[in-house]
Subunit: 611 residues, 2 copies
């Protein structure tokens, strides 16, 4: 093996653009898995996913790892003592990390035993890791083996020294950068459940699953722009801060500077508590009491018992301080009628937009076919796994088009993105198939090739009413919105394919949806997919001034707020139709995830915005 | 000519996907300008830009327009009486539009005189308009000629009946849709200045200039995604609502639900006033008084004088009501210390993000090279023409990379987007060159081909200090930020090309920028372009825990708020670098516009969020 590598050592270092290393995707993503590059000297960087150590039993200076025969080694996963409690404590008392680092440095300074660390290193660019061999002369196992360690390594690609799932590995010759890991690293345990990962959103993309989800998310974003640009749509920005209520169905966030002017001390004292809720500390007190109890029962380690008792006492003191402070702040009722919003930044009340629809429509009434892709907000304290306070929506609007056109476009769009995913993200899809949902690829392939069923809302009601031997949780009745259960039944049991339900009862849809001739239904549609339910809501807009105006009166909407929107009907009104899609629901569809909090990097929901 | 068309009338109607018409871009954007399609029957839709009427002098039934010889016609622009004041009044008193429409209908019902309307119709897909001939049998000039009228027309493409700048025109045979225009249409005058157009953001994309700007904006968005996707970057969402202050330099918007719960009446009364500020009404009173004065001086029309006097009186009453209401609301001081943000939606104080940098960095520390593209906010009451309260930023972050890499990437990115614009948007660029800025194309071509000058901040200071015979408005001194004037001088007078200034004095840059070995400067850079100044701000981040931590202490930053960010240095820290770009500044660069309020569809700035 050594002879194979000899001539290659002289080859130049191959680097990616803008980053001092070869991205693993360009190496391991090759059809030969990188075998054709064996012998090349390269630089790779990434984070250790897992590791094991090969101890070298000879006392002579350690030979290169690849000549060590398998019978000479013992391989064991490093035992990493993990004390999650320590971490919470450090958070509470402040400068803990620094002390923990000092401690780690002491460990590292011990003389290394001759050994080789075998690291599985991932750089987030693809699913597989690269196997990296690091001789203890370069770095001790303590330094490089803890998962989460960052390494930038120069070395030579070679065939694996020990048979396994890898077809190449790299023998480190220089360590160019080493980013150590503190004992409190939250991802040190393997395969944490997704729920626990939500508490460390700044780290969780380092797990293979979340990284795959992020790459699929990226592919969906890119495919979305790709589809609309290909079809000649223009991307138009709609405002995030708005004084118009676009939907009327959702609670909104107010945007203001009235409460944040020059109150620096107050802001700081409030953010000091951020991330450390009284509830969390009470939970840790419970854990700590348990620990004290256990230690006093076993009676094996007096020092540990004393330390745990002191720790518990300190934490109790802290929680009492926090509670006192919170009490002092509470009990204030806000009389908003006294607020003078004309003194606010925008000289009026402004909100975070719920939907880009109305603004986008004004652009369609000038530019033809337009789309917008950006964040939308709703302040619903919902516990639904499918909604977030902050989501990214694709809003589409087309001039000179009617309901049918929007349904066609929604249909083609969904098929396109499914096709793009299957073509460009197979490795990630196969990974989520293995880890999350076996049906993922099948579902995508089915959607991209099947024709969507189109039924009217009235037909859907009729079909569901005739279902025998099935009791739905809520009654099927004209005028009442179809529940998730109803929709799933239509998609999974009756039509066994994606379903578009159109012409809904008018009361179920926003004021701007075009009234049908029957006077009862409105020209709206939902696209319902298996697993995730409704992913797209679309409609044809009411282009007739009189009808729109009287519909607004009927609903008691403040005319002044919508005057600019009504203007579009007074000056060159046109038939427009379009739809909206919450990107996150497509991520759920394409990954099999059940909770949208796992589908975005920094989910925002009631009580959760901790960074 | 008639014989040329005869066989073609039978050809099928060609429609675009999802819209019931041919987009003008696909017709007029052909290399032959559409001549090859002469004889085809098509459907086109759009809005009338300008028009003239050809009166047919014969009393026999009107022949098709194309056989009318030029000497038989008189061509005159329709005189459209425009009463902007009427519009403001209607806004104030409510249901005005409806009455105006009724009036218009009466006009339309008059018997049409035999004539042909010649319309220039644009659909927003390209710069040129299509010439459309509408016989008065199909629709009267009153109906179709006012600019802003929406038409969907089926007809046959033919050579122009009258020589002009067009190479094709369409003879209408059916009017499939007609969207009339009310007298109050704000864009009825030709060539309104951009400043006045800002007051009708929902209509201004119908002007050729704003439509071109929007298409250039779209091309920049698409090119941005294209560059980063090509280079293997992942698009990652950063949160818009955040509890972390990313910059420390800007005022922030607070996001809350504390002030908007169940106060419906209050909200409505506040929005009722929206768009009608007391100041605006005072201005209209001034105009009205002037009118009354003029009328009483000329004494020609007593009725008009009485009407004007009544109008003035009513408006004065209104303003007095409004002022009384405002007085009742004002004078309330808000004691924010009494607010209990633990009762807010997110159980803490949250803001609109100023920058995606910190969050994006956490993703780079897992996934390698990432970018984010979305809205960012700052609550600065600045009168600068280059800043907005809501902008779209491209944030880029790369792991295993240093200052130099980020500068390379920023350089390549700018060149790429300039190249894409020149390749894909030439028609729009040529239009803005004609209307706004003669240097536009030259500037883009220069940027895409020139090498950027790289100088350190210290060098820049030195170079500027040695400039003889030039007195800068503010002194050039180490430790003080370079002003726009300084930067322009470097770019326009000294280096005569884009300049990258790096290693700024540390106090001028955010806390997370890496400290250089000299202890005085930090590893940051600005890319300065001609005309627009700094478009990119980049830096290498401080990856050393101890240095970062002591820098934060130095600046008095609340540690708790940044704990999650500090965590990244405790667990597998890596060198990262990146940059941010405000997309709107590139729009200014690529269009020659001077004010960023003209570069986005719905600009948000102090006192302006009227839809």
């Amino acid at each position: 093996m050594a002879s194979e590598q000899a001539p290659a050592v002289e080859m130049p270092v191959t680097l990616s653009k803008y980053t001092k290393r070869v991205m693993l995707k360009t190496l391991l993503g090759r059809s030969d898995g990188g075998v054709g590059l064996i012998g090349k000297r390269i630089v790779i960087g990434g984070w250790v996913k897992s590791s094991c150590e090969i101890r070298i039993q000879t006392v002579t200076p350690p030979p290169p790892a690849h000549v060590v025969s398998p019978k000479d080694v013992t391989c064991s996963e490093v035992l990493q003592s993990r004390i999650p409690l320590l971490r919470s404590l450090m958070k509470v008392f402040g400068a803990g990390e620094h002390r923990a680092r000092e401690k780690l440095n002491v460990i590292i300074q011990k003389a290394p035993q001759p050994s080789v660390s075998i690291l599985q290193v991932s750089d987030g660019s693809c699913v597989p890791s690269l196997q990296v061999l690091v001789d203890s002369v370069l770095a001790t196992p303590c330094q490089v083996m803890p998962s989460g360690t960052c390494v930038l390594i120069e070395g030579v690609l070679q065939r694996p020294s020990v048979q396994g799932k890898h077809v190449v590995e790299i023998q480190a010759e220089k360590i160019l950068h080493l980013g150590l890991v503190d004992q409190s690293y939250p991802l040190s345990k393997k395969r944490l459940p997704l729920e626990s990962l939500r508490d460390c959103s700044h780290f969780r993309s380092r797990t293979t699953t979340v990284a795959s989800v992020t790459r699929i998310h990226n592919a969906l974003t890119w495919a979305t722009h790709g589809f609309f640009q290909d079809q000649g749509f223009l991307h138009v920005q709609v405002p995030i801060i708005t004084s118009t209520d676009s939907e009327g169905f959702s609670e909104k966030f107010l945007v203001t500077t009235l409460l944040s002017k020059g109150k620096k001390n107050d802001q700081i004292s409030s953010t000091e508590n951020a991330g450390v809720s009284v509830e969390a500390i009470w939970a840790s007190i419970k854990d700590k009491s348990k620990k004290v109890e256990e230690l006093s029962r076993t009676d094996s380690n007096k020092e540990a018992l004393v330390a745990a008792q002191q720790d518990l006492k300190k934490t109790k003191e802290l929680v009492s301080q926090l509670e006192t402070r919170q009490k002092a702040n509470s009990g204030v009722t806000i009389d908003t009628r006294k607020f003078d919003f004309s003194k606010d930044f925008f000289a009026r009340q402004t909100y975070l937009t719920v939907s880009g629809h109305l603004h986008l429509e004004s652009q369609a009434c000038a530019l033809g076919n337009v789309y917008s892709f950006g964040p939308r907000f709703q302040a619903e304290k919902s516990a639904s796994k499918k909604s977030l306070a902050e989501t990214w929506m694709v809003d589409v609007e087309m001039a000179f088009s009617e309901l049918e056109d929007a349904m066609d476009c929604a249909n083609d769009f969904l098929k396109f993105v499914c096709k793009m995913l299957v073509e460009d993200c197979m490795e990630d899809l196969q990974f989520v198939l293995k880890r999350i949902d076996k049906a993922v690829i099948e579902r995508l392939q089915f959607t991209m090739s099947s024709s969507f069923e189109r039924i009217s809302y009235a037909e859907a009601i009729e079909v569901l009413r005739q279902v025998a031997g099935k009791k739905f949780q809520s009654n099927v009745e004209f005028g009442v919105a179809l529940t998730e259960e109803h929709q799933s039944y239509l998609v999974d049991e009756i039509y066994k394919k994606p379903v578009i339900i159109y012409n809904h009862q008018k009361g179920l849809k926003p004021f701007y949806v075009r009234l049908n001739d029957d006077g009862k239904t409105a020209a709206a549609f939902n696209v319902v997919l298996p697993k995730v339910g409704t992913v797209i809501r679309g409609s044809q807009s009411e282009e007739r001034f009189d009808v729109l105006s009287s519909r607004m009166k009927e609903l008691g909407l403040p005319k002044q707020q919508y005057q600019w929107y009504l203007d579009l009907r007074c000056h060159g009104s046109v038939k427009t139709s379009g739809f909206s899609l919450m990107l996150e629901s497509l991520v759920l569809y394409a990954t099999g995830l059940n909770d949208v909090k796992d589908a975005v990097p920094f989910p925002r929901s009631s009580g959760r915005a901790n960074n």
